[in-house]
Symmetry: C2
Subunit: 354 residues, 2 copies
């Protein structure tokens, strides 16, 4: 605890990365719940001066000592770094909030989305709280709201995932490919001609400009991808439904930032289009944007940079009164990463401040 | 019947349009089953010289007399033109093959996909045979093959539709927007910034470059689009399953040509991943492209300009042994329009030739 303010000391691990930058922005604009904020960068970026809460703070390198006196350690780092250092931080007394996949499926580690299961944040025997991945986070707040009313039984999801969730090389690759294709009218009409001009594929297994790529993540058994399995496991864990039926298909689209998901959700109870829209409209963290006749539905380019999950195209399935179809969009770097971590850290800070 | 050859006379209505151009290409490369081929253009394009089967043919304007002596009239025209002129052609004795929505749902008009229900082509009391729309056609050949083995019971589909199915203005709009966004790295990170630079939206209700738009077609009751309703009605009619459960979400993506669909299909029988892959691999009109570990899955840029439906990402659902998830791609101007019409015309020609 920061002795001057009586408020918790926060360390941001990965403050110099892409998600870290969004985290500093959030810390500067959301309610200030912290005393000291320590910024930890990679060895390469240590010493860089960053801005947070209107002040300049120097990024320090990651060492064991950096966690001394830290109450909350928010991790926005690659999986191997989190796997190694989160237990170090927890052993030194900090509550770790990790946005990486390192601990998501682990026993004794709650998987928390503050709008859905905030109560789980207190059950952390290992001192670590995890948040789900960006694909799950782009739909779970809206799904959780509908689940509370109707009881979710089955989920079929097809994603439209942005390049930036593949890191800076994902974003750089998409921009470079778009620059090469420009508006070249010779392209897009013959098999393989995009492949011939886009240049480097970067982290993607096929050209992304003027294309869609039905693969994100790494190979998992049965022909699934790690992302598709993660959507299933994370949705089950966050909603507390260990037997929920889930089928996801994860597809990358040539969008810089903001994931979208087409959702078919089957519930225990009969649904109603108007009521479902009202539930979404009044749910914290969700914005209803659903009047197609006046072209109101969420698109990535309209929701990028915003905090909520945007919900639209809400329809009751024509052949099953217990099923709803809807389209969801959310910023994969904000609610999909930094914002969810910041929200969990705030729950812990409120608890510590008492 | 063409008196010199003893082969049917074919008229192509709409020969000067985008789908007509693909039709002429197909007539020049597929087995030649016709005597005379008459090319009919719009009033504006009549007189233009077109190439078909290696010969130059002048497009003539659409009149009642153009159908004199025509055995098969293939229509590749907008819906109102088909609605007015198909009955004229049929009354003068031609078998009409219509690719537009004008007659798809009509009683007494078979809806035919030659790989799936060729036998239906003979049941045409009104002298008109219709083909389904491009979204249905991008999945129905593969679905039909799996249905024959397992018995389809339920379909959930999310589409990734190309700009060219919105006509030439769709293609022109996407190219123009891509030219404006180029590889501009300032774009795609703030809400609305794409909207500020792409210029004309053309036939789309939101920017398409660097975006996805969850709306294709016109408003239908219950928040559905006409395209989503069409997928349901057409799939039911082609497969002869009037009570099939169908939920579709139609989404436009910044791809010039080739539609993709993420499919979740529930069957009567238990499914098997390997067997489903084999069924698809040996089905006429389908190519299996399914080895993700070596980056083999269908993408629009790899299948554009080809005839088959490409199937990949075949997975048995983890929570339902009767369900399969897969990803399908097909050229919306070829199998999705001109090719299906040409194939139906060939069935009729074979019947007439005896």
């Amino acid at each position: 605890m920061d002795s001057a303010s009586g408020l918790p000391t926060l360390a941001v691990i990965g403050a110099t990365g892409a998600v870290g930058a969004v985290m500093l922005d959030l810390l500067s604009t959301r309610r200030d719940m912290y005393g000291e904020i320590r910024l930890v960068g990679s060895d390469r970026s240590a010493g860089r001066i960053l801005r947070v809460r209107g002040r300049s703070v120097e990024a320090v390198p990651l060492t064991r000592e950096v966690f001394d006196g830290v109450d909350i350690a928010a991790f926005a780092v690659p999986t191997p770094v989190a796997a190694e250092w989160a237990p170090v931080a927890a052993a030194r007394g900090a509550v770790v909030v990790d946005g990486s996949p390192a601990f998501r499926s682990g026993p004794g580690v709650p998987l928390v989305v503050p709008e859905v299961n905030p109560e789980r944040v207190r059950e952390r025997p290992r001192g670590i709280v995890a948040g789900p991945g960006c694909t799950t986070l782009s739909m779970i707040v809206a799904l959780g709201a509908l689940h509370r009313r109707y009881g979710l039984r089955e989920l079929v999801a097809a994603s439209y995932q942005a390049a930036s969730s593949a890191g800076r090389s994902g974003t750089d690759t998409l921009y470079a490919q778009l620059e090469k294709v420009g508006g070249d009218r010779a392209l897009g009409n013959r098999a393989g001609d995009i492949r011939g001009v886009v240049g480097e594929l970067g982290p993607f297994p096929a050209p992304l400009a003027m294309n869609v790529v039905p693969w994100t993540g790494t190979p998992a058994p049965g022909g699934w991808t790690s992302d598709e399995i993660a959507v299933r496991n994370e949705t089950r864990k966050v909603l507390g439904l260990p037997n929920l039926k889930v089928s996801a298909t994860c597809v990358r689209v040539p969008v810089v930032t903001a994931h979208s998901v087409a959702v078919h959700a089957v519930f225990e109870e009969r649904t109603n289009q108007r009521e479902a829209q009202e539930i979404l409209a009044r749910s914290p963290g969700v914005v209803l944007c659903d009047n197609p006749e006046t072209h109101e539905f969420p698109t990535p380019s309209d929701v990028v940079g915003t905090d909520p999950t945007w919900a639209g195209r809400v329809r009751r399935s024509l052949d099953d009164p217990r099923a709803l179809d809807l389209f969801l969009c959310g910023d994969n770097l904000r609610k999909g990463a930094a914002l969810n971590t910041a929200q969990i850290a705030e729950l812990v800070a409120a608890e510590q401040t008492g």
